[in-house]
């Protein structure tokens, strides 16, 4: 049989020591109100965690709004620039066409003379 299960280690005297150890090492309750303090700290930790999450989600939302707004404005500026360039190109084209027209008219007039 297993020496451990048999309670060996010194026979009766050792068994008495082991019984005494069990007595000495009995579980003891912590001071009064321990459970209340633990529950309060747990509730506080949860509230603090919730507040932390609220801050994190607010910060993420703010970053998202700022990011989207900046992308929107960038696109707007690009569109405006493109529009300006188009208008400028059309103006140049119109000027060139007017010049060509004037030159053509001048040539025709010279030939007739």
């Amino acid at each position: 049989m297993d020496a451990w299960a048999n309670g060996a280690y010194g026979g009766d005297q050792m068994s008495a020591l082991e019984r005494e150890l069990r007595e000495v090492l009995q579980r003891e309750q912590p001071s009064a109100g321990f459970d209340r303090r633990v529950l309060e700290r747990a509730a506080l930790a949860r509230r603090s965690q919730q507040r932390q999450w609220k801050w994190i989600s607010t910060a993420v939302a703010a970053c998202l709004v700022i990011g989207l707004t900046s992308v929107y404005w960038q696109r707007e500026r690009q569109a405006e620039r493109a529009q300006e360039q188009l208008v400028q190109a059309l103006q140049i084209t119109a000027q060139k066409l007017a010049l060509v027209e004037r030159m053509a008219t001048k040539n025709l007039t010279g030939q007739e003379k």
């Binding site: 000495v24 090492l25 633990v38 700290r41 509730a43």
Partner: protein
């Protein structure tokens, strides 16, 4: 069992676990560190950690094992960090509200001092064996050592304590 279906139910479950296991968790710290204030502080931390890990718990037995393991580990860590020497200023701390020990006061006093003088690992093994009534295999698993090492440590601790008590003439 430990669902978060409602916050109120989870809170009630947690409160129940705290009340059920506070003596076990606190006593492990107290018997290992011999400092009631530190034992209470560590016990509170361990329960808060349990609260954080609530979703990973599967059953009440799992919670009890988790608490036992966590408190033992926290006490070991604390002891190593602080290089704590056992203290016996019992008059400075509040009286425990647990049942009074009906053992021979002289023998109990000597035994307490002998337990406190055991090396750290041996003291953990004695506390887990005689406070928590764990089998050597369970202690071995909890502390991450072999069963043989647990049995051998326990044997040496008991023999040493018996020898000291005989020497002091306080054996029954």
């Amino acid at each position: 069992m430990f669902s978060w279906r409602s916050q109120a139910a989870a809170d009630a479950n947690f409160a129940e676990i705290v009340r059920e296991h506070q003596a076990m968790v606190y006593s492990i710290g107290w018997h290992l560190l011999r400092d009631r204030a530190v034992a209470e502080e560590l016990a509170q931390d361990v329960f808060l950690k349990l609260h954080e890990n609530w979703n990973s718990l599967e059953s009440r037995a799992h919670a009890a094992n988790w608490l036992r393991r966590a408190m033992t580990q926290r006490s070991i860590d604390y002891s190593r960090r602080a290089r704590l020497r056992p203290r016996f200023a019992l008059e400075d701390v509040p009286e425990p509200i647990g049942p009074a020990c009906d053992a021979d006061p002289l023998m109990s006093e000597h035994l307490e001092s002998l337990i406190a003088r055991l090396p750290e690992r041996a003291r953990q093994i004695v506390v887990l064996r005689y406070q928590e009534d764990l089998e050597p295999a369970e202690i071995a698993q909890l502390l991450g050592v072999s069963v043989g090492a647990v049995k051998s440590s326990l044997h040496r601790s008991l023999a040493w304590m018996r020898g000291r008590m005989e020497h002091m003439g306080v054996t029954k």
